[in-house]
């Protein structure tokens, strides 16, 4: 499969440039700080709960530390960092002209696109899995529930795929990496903020807005629920943006 040739090349380029290391490193630092803070405040709760047995019943490390961490904090941090990972995928090739060679090899545009998509997804999953250290560490100290954590990671993976889709689209539209990153960030931010306006508009629009909101769909994953509505939402965003990217790649065929 020629797709995997592109995939391996992209992964190699990720790891030979400093960008991937910086992004993964930054993500791990930020994630680590948030984990430390929430586990810290959890231990303060625990002290207080030691004096109040009624309160202690509700103490749950999964619920109080990992649910907000996975379904909220990580999403926002990723929304900021993911555009950096995807910005170069097409923009750099367009700028340096390598796209001209790549697209004249006997390989379909779709194979190039999917190769790049899976390479970025692989890097993203590696980055995410490195944070699995936190629940493992916490598991030594407290009893944690596995299911909500696994579904939380599943939700994040699906969300990451959608982010990568949007990033690829932006990258295919420009030859400037900064423009690609900024527009990816803007699109993702708008989709996030859409959810906030849900309360201000009527019930129909409110429902629509919160359905469109890209972070809203993390909620149920964090609770250990895999809702098809959320899965389909992320797959929709991913597939639709990949479809548009393919059209944008093909536009060179008809644009004058």
């Amino acid at each position: 499969m020629r797709l995997w040739a592109v995939y391996r090349k992209e992964l190699r380029l990720y790891f030979t440039s400093p960008v991937a290391y910086v992004v993964v490193g930054m993500f791990l630092i930020i994630a680590g700080v948030f984990f430390y803070l929430s586990i810290g405040s959890f231990s303060i709760y625990s002290m207080q709960a030691a004096m109040n047995p009624a309160f202690a019943r509700d103490l749950n490390v999964t619920e109080l530390v990992f649910r907000p961490l996975l379904s909220n904090t990580f999403s926002v941090v990723l929304l900021l960092l993911m555009p950096i990972l995807t910005m170069r995928l097409f923009a750099e090739e367009k700028k340096s002209g390598t796209i001209e060679l790549l697209l004249t090899y006997p390989v379909k545009d779709g194979e190039v696109l999917l190769g790049k998509f899976f390479a970025a997804l692989t890097l993203f999953i590696i980055m995410l899995l490195l944070t699995a250290l936190y629940p493992i560490l916490a598991g030594f100290l407290a009893r944690i529930e596995l299911a909500p954590i696994v579904t939380g990671y599943l939700g994040l993976t699906l969300m990451g795929a959608a982010f990568i889709g949007v990033g690829l689209l932006a990258s295919s539209l420009t030859e400037n990496q900064i423009v690609a990153a900024v527009s990816t960030f803007a699109i993702l931010l708008i989709f996030w903020v859409l959810g906030w306006s849900a309360d201000m508009v009527g019930p129909f629009w409110g429902k629509l807005m919160s359905h469109l909101s890209i972070l809203e769909h993390q909620e149920s994953f964090g609770k250990g629920v895999i809702d098809t509505k959320d899965v389909i939402y992320y797959l929709d965003v991913t597939i639709f943006s990949l479809f548009l990217t393919l059209r944008s790649l093909e536009s060179r065929r008809w644009r004058g």
Binding site: A5, G97, T98, E100, L101, P106, R253
Partner: protein, 322 residues
């Protein structure tokens, strides 16, 4: 092998090429000449299936570049103008990647990469990063990636631009060594290069083909007459008149020359050689024939006549060439 018919490409309202038609036979090396912005790169991009034409047809090995694009791409090797490569990749790994994309099987790949590196003389830098290589080596890596799938057709856009003279010679020899087995179309604006490497040329100007064919054909087409330059020590007026009376001489023009000697350019139809008669004439009249030689038409003259001739058809631009 390459068949192009009435190819036209518009960028917005501007036509980059208009009704370009030509045919290249299997095994030929053809130079694609023209001033900057004449439409060379556009034509090559269409042939390499990077983008389609606005109208017209381009076929490589009997396959249409637009509708059978993948099949065409399997049969070509393309080197774009600025040799776009991935600077962060080592040479061998890059060539392996290209070989895989071009459908070279896993088992053959290693051998093929080694062979093509040997051929392009880059084996000694195979572990180096492409970004760290000199321009000459990068050019050779570019050529290596074009050759890796043993393509029937090579499309090379300015393959020697920006190289030093030694590297230029090496690249030319490499291209020349491909003659016979592969069809090569290479664009250049260095004329001696075309005359050294190519068997024929296609000259394009302002998006249109102005001439094409082998060297002799081109020369006859542009300069149908034979020109002889001579210096005679004798009375200028009488010499000129006598030369004009030689049968077959179509034009006698006096040219400047040093030390007050009479110098002339005598033109006659291409198949008529009047040199013997000129010698006889000078001997009979006891004029001293000091110099006589046939003026060869260089590619520069042909090229300039064709390219400049379009703008000012009456002016014989070729004669202004030093």
């Amino acid at each position: 092998m390459i068949y192009v018919d009435k190819l036209t490409k518009f960028y917005g309202p501007i036509a980059a090429i208009q009704e370009v038609s030509f045919t290249i036979e299997k095994g030929e090396i053809i130079g694609f000449l023209g001033p900057n912005g004449a439409g060379k790169t556009t034509t090559m991009r269409i042939l390499s299936c990077f983008m389609p034409a606005s109208s017209g047809q381009a076929r490589v090995a009997g396959l249409d570049c637009f509708t059978q694009s993948i099949e065409v791409r399997k049969r070509i090797g393309y080197l774009p103008e600025n040799v776009p490569l991935y600077p962060e990749m080592p040479v061998a790994a890059y060539l392996d990647f290209v070989a895989e994309l071009k459908g070279v099987g896993r088992s053959e790949r290693r051998g093929r990469v080694a062979e093509v590196m040997e051929r392009c003389m880059i084996s000694d830098v195979q572990q180096r990063l492409i970004g760290k290589l000199s321009k000459g080596y990068r050019q050779r890596v570019g050529l290596a990636q074009a050759l890796i799938n043993e393509p029937e057709v090579l499309i090379l856009d300015e393959p020697t631009i920006g190289l030093d003279p030694k590297q230029i010679i090496e690249i030319r020899q490499l291209i020349k060594s491909l003659a016979g087995q592969r069809t090569v179309i290479l664009s250049t604006h260095i004329l001696p290069e075309a005359s050294m490497v190519c068997q024929g040329v296609i000259i394009i100007n302002r998006g249109r083909i102005v001439a094409s064919g082998g060297w002799d054909q081109l020369q006859n087409q542009v300069f149908p007459s034979r020109r002889i330059e001579l210096q005679i020590d004798g009375p200028a007026g009488a010499v000129e008149e006598a030369l004009g009376r030689i049968p077959g001489v179509s034009k006698v023009a006096s040219a400047e020359s040093a030390a007050g000697l009479a110098a002339f350019v005598v033109e006659s139809p291409g198949e008529r050689d009047v040199r013997g008669e000129i010698f006889q004439l000078a001997a009979d009249r006891r004029w001293k024939l000091l110099e006589m030689h046939q003026i060869g038409t260089s590619l520069e003259e042909i090229f300039l006549k064709l390219v400049a001739g379009e703008e000012t058809p009456t002016q014989d631009a070729a004669e202004q060439v030093p």
